[in-house]
């Protein structure tokens, strides 16, 4: 039973289908909306593709509704856009709103609906191509020729209010070329092309696009013939420039070949090396420019004097009948107002090894071994009170009024060899060689450290008092080592009245008179020969302390109150009664021992006074 019904139904349908097919009538196929475009963001058009034809006349209708609305609308314009299109006019077009549209195909047999299409006008913008493209060759007189093209935007697009923004692109090619040369033109409606092949026919096209959207189609091609006399002036200029530069290069090569090395030296002169005597390259490398400068013995670089001028000058005191100072001159140096002397090369007198120029660089690095210090020309040039010079005993001739000195009482005179400056500091130690007029010929001299020497100089020469103190300590130590080694310090040997073959001797403080001046005795090197030595030093260390400065250029020395380092007041038999002076010295000592505490600097048992204190306290 059921099988019969089913088979009957099937047969009926097949017959119906057969009939329809024979007639060619079917309901329409499903249409499809395939494209929607808006050329100006004010209108838009949608096109659909019909489905299979049912053989019968088919009506299409497009219906839509918009986002946020429920009402269905039908297409307002089926004509403007052509067949199978729907055009939405200005009043029907909204931006930023989704349209949901559908096409309905209907014929006698039936109808079919397309799928829903969701369209937002915002994203379907594609303008028409630009219009009126004009191209011409322009050849201005004083400039290069170029191709000039101009166009206008498509119609119906509102650029003035900013509703629509257009961007352009052009392309061109010689007629027979395969590939286009494309250039982006931005928002401008004109363009220049500079590089062209003369005598060829060019095709030019332009297209445009919105700021956010699709490119338009290319405009119809415009043809332009480039004239054959389209001169590329560039090449001529470049050829002449190349030729000229080649010629110049040849000339240079020829000149160099001829003159060769001399030309090279003319262009690149050799760099001169430093030729300053006393210049220690090692100190440069270490970066100790201060020491280097001080090694040169001057505050101002470069030094103006030769090395010989920096040497310690020794003035010999001749306390024989002549009573004149003789100084060995190496060179005249009138500007400094003094005459440098050579120390006796035979004896390693306390000049220190820094004396000889050849040994300077090696030995001056270790000033501990060389207690010598360089002479500072500034010291010499410091104006000294010339009067004090003349208070000297006429037996004594000091340096020409430029050297600070001790004022020794009585018929003493002292000459002050200016010892070489310690390279490690600018602290200047002056050894005074004081020879008593009545001193024995072979009496040694005592080295006196003059801490107060700095007080006499201007403070500018004192760079580091602590350094100076340390240097002083080292000098003292080295002094002792020297004395131990039996190396005399000061006197130049050959001209000394004490004996031509004698080593330098030390001067001891003999006494201090009421003015605070020192009287010095040559020191006995060996503890023999001198009958009276009331207070021989326990060790050979003897110091004089500077307790004060008088008159800006006179140092007041006191014996060191410490038992170990007591300066030895030795009395010579030839001296005036020592007891009186000794008492006086003691009194003076008492007077001057009360130095300001701050001026005392204890250094390993040695008590030194800061000379700066005295400059303040005494002036």
């Amino acid at each position: 039973m059921k099988e019969n019904v089913i088979s009957a139904t099937v047969v009926t349908l097949l017959l119906f289908l057969n009939t329809c097919l024979l007639n060619g009538q079917l309901p329409p196929g499903k249409p499809e909306i395939f494209k929607c475009r808006s050329p100006n963001k004010e209108t838009f058009t949608c096109w659909w593709r019909p489905g299979t034809d049912g053989g019968l006349p088919t009506n299409y209708s497009l219906t839509y509704h918009r986002e946020g609305e429920t009402l269905m609308h039908e297409c307002p314009d089926y004509i403007t856009g052509g067949p199978n299109s729907c055009h939405f006019g200005k009043q029907y077009t909204s931006m930023w709103r989704t349209y949901i549209m559908m096409v309905n195909a209907t014929n006698q047999m039936g109808s079919s609906f397309s799928d829903e299409l969701y369209v937002d006008v915002t994203y379907i913008v594609q303008p028409d191509p630009p219009l009126e493209l004009t191209v011409e060759v322009k050849q201005p007189e004083d400039r290069k020729p170029y191709l000039w093209m101009k166009w206008s935007p498509p119609t119906l697009i509102d650029l003035k209010t900013g509703w629509f923004t257009l961007l352009y692109e052009i392309r061109l090619k010689p007629e027979k070329a395969a590939e286009w040369e494309t250039h982006f033109a931005g928002q401008q409606t004109e363009f220049k092309i500079l590089s062209l092949h003369p005598g060829q026919k060019y095709l030019v096209q332009v297209r445009c696009k919105p700021d956010h959207g699709y490119w338009s189609a290319w405009s119809p091609a415009t043809f332009i013939q480039i004239p054959s006399d389209f001169i590329m002036n560039d090449t001529t200029v470049w050829i002449s420039v190349a030729v000229l530069s080649a010629v110049i290069c040849l000339i240079i090569v020829w000149a160099v070949a001829l003159k060769g090395y001399s030309m090279v030296t003319c262009i690149f002169p050799p760099v001169p090396g430093p030729k300053i005597k006393g210049f220690d390259a090692h100190l440069l490398e270490k970066g100790k420019s201060e020491e280097l400068l001080s090694a040169l013995g001057c505050q101002d670089f470069p030094p103006t004097s030769d090395y010989e001028d920096l040497l310690v000058e020794y003035l010999e005191v001749d306390d024989s009948e002549d009573q004149h100072l003789m100084s060995a001159h190496s060179k005249e140096h009138p500007s400094q107002g003094m005459k440098p002397t050579y120390l006796d090369p035979d004896t390693d007198s306390g000049r220190g090894s820094c004396d000889s120029p050849s040994l300077l660089s090696e030995k001056c690095e270790e000033p501990q071994a060389n207690p010598s210090t360089f002479y500072d020309p500034e010291v010499i040039e410091k104006p000294e009170n010339p009067e004090t010079t003349h208070t000297w005993d006429p037996q004594c001739i000091s340096m020409e009024g430029k050297i600070p000195y001790f004022h020794a009482g009585g018929s003493k005179c002292s000459t002050w060899p200016l010892i070489q400056h310690n390279p490690r500091s600018s602290y200047h130690n002056i050894t005074d060689v004081c020879e008593l007029a009545v001193g024995p010929a072979d009496a040694p001299a005592t080295l006196l450290d003059e801490a107060g020497k700095d007080a006499l100089k201007s403070s500018q020469t004192i760079k580091s008092r602590e350094e100076g103190k340390a240097a002083q300590q080292r000098e003292v130590d080295s002094f002792h080592s020297k004395t131990d080694q039996d190396t005399p310090w000061l006197l130049p040997q050959e001209k000394t009245p004490f004996g031509s073959a004698k080593p330098l001797d030390y001067v001891e403080i003999h006494k201090v008179n009421k003015d605070g001046a020192l009287s010095l005795l040559p020191k006995q090197r060996e503890n023999s020969g001198q009958p009276e030595k009331p207070r021989a030093p326990e060790n050979s260390k003897e110091y004089a302390k500077v307790s004060g400065v008088m008159d800006n250029n006179i140092l007041v020395l006191v014996p060191d109150p410490h038992a170990k380092n007591v300066a030895c007041f030795e009395e010579s038999a030839k001296e005036a009664p020592p007891s009186l002076e000794q008492n006086q010295a003691e009194k003076d000592l008492a007077n001057f021992t009360a130095t300001p505490s701050k001026c005392r600097i204890q250094l390993g048992g040695l008590d030194y006074l800061d000379p700066a204190c005295f400059t303040h306290s005494f002036h």
Partner: protein, 228 residues
């Protein structure tokens, strides 16, 4: 020799330093003067040019981000149908064609733009946070989201400056539509979550285009007197 080399080295170092400073100045974006309208040296034209550049850039980024998201996660699955009426800014009276745009007065137009920008601060922030927290976070989408968030803030600053110059008497109106889509971004159901992201990116693309178009309109109106 050290003595010879050191002046050259010092000179070349100095030259490098100076050139770097100069280049850095060129690379940095033009500062919009912060000191208030009275002392501002940046012209209104510069402000609008800058704003248009930013809005154009932001829409490009949004469009790319949407395309990438759709291509990767939701293409052909009809998510667009659920995106209808999903934008939180639809309550704002924004013009939808040229005629409507030309009828709005300048002041309202500017405050409208500012409202849209303000209303997108929070959604952008959450978008970045949520995408970053995704497993296998898509780097292309995340980087664009981060950039959009950054540039939108700067655009908002620029707009506030423009407002202060064009309409100094405008009182600060902090009313703007509030976005409430965060829970849907965090839903467990993948379909719902994807739909939430789709809607968010769809609305972002649309609103960024709106802002770009409005600013270009205003620029031509205010700066060029409708003669662009």
């Amino acid at each position: 020799m050290n003595i010879k080399g050191s002046p050259w080295k010092a000179g070349s170092l100095l030259l490098l330093l100076v050139s770097n400073l100069l280049l850095c100045q060129n690379v940095a974006p033009l500062p919009v003067c912060p000191g208030g309208a009275a002392r501002c040296q940046v012209t209104l034209r510069d402000l609008f040019d800058r704003a248009v550049v930013l809005s154009h850039y932001i829409h490009n980024l949004s469009s790319e981000m949407f395309s990438e998201f759709d291509k990767r996660y939701t293409h052909g699955r009809g998510f667009i149908t659920r995106a209808i009426n999903s934008c939180h800014t639809s309550s704002l009276p924004t013009p939808e064609d040229k005629e409507q745009a030309q009828q709005i007065n300048q002041k309202d137009f500017l405050s409208l733009i500012v409202s849209i920008l303000r209303s997108w601060n929070e959604p952008l922030y959450h978008l970045v946070t949520e995408v970053r927290g995704m497993e296998e976070a898509p780097e292309a989408i995340l980087s664009k989201a981060v950039e959009i968030e950054e540039q939108t803030k700067r655009l908002l600053e620029g707009m506030e400056l423009i407002v202060s110059q064009v309409h100094p008497e405008t009182k600060e109106n902090e009313i703007y539509p509030v976005w409430t889509g965060l829970p849907s971004l965090q839903m467990a159901d993948e379909e719902s979550r994807l739909s939430a992201y789709y809607n968010l990116l769809h609305c972002l693309r649309r609103d960024s285009h709106k802002i770009d178009n409005y600013l270009k309109l205003l620029k031509c109106r205010i700066i060029h007197n409708n003669n662009c």
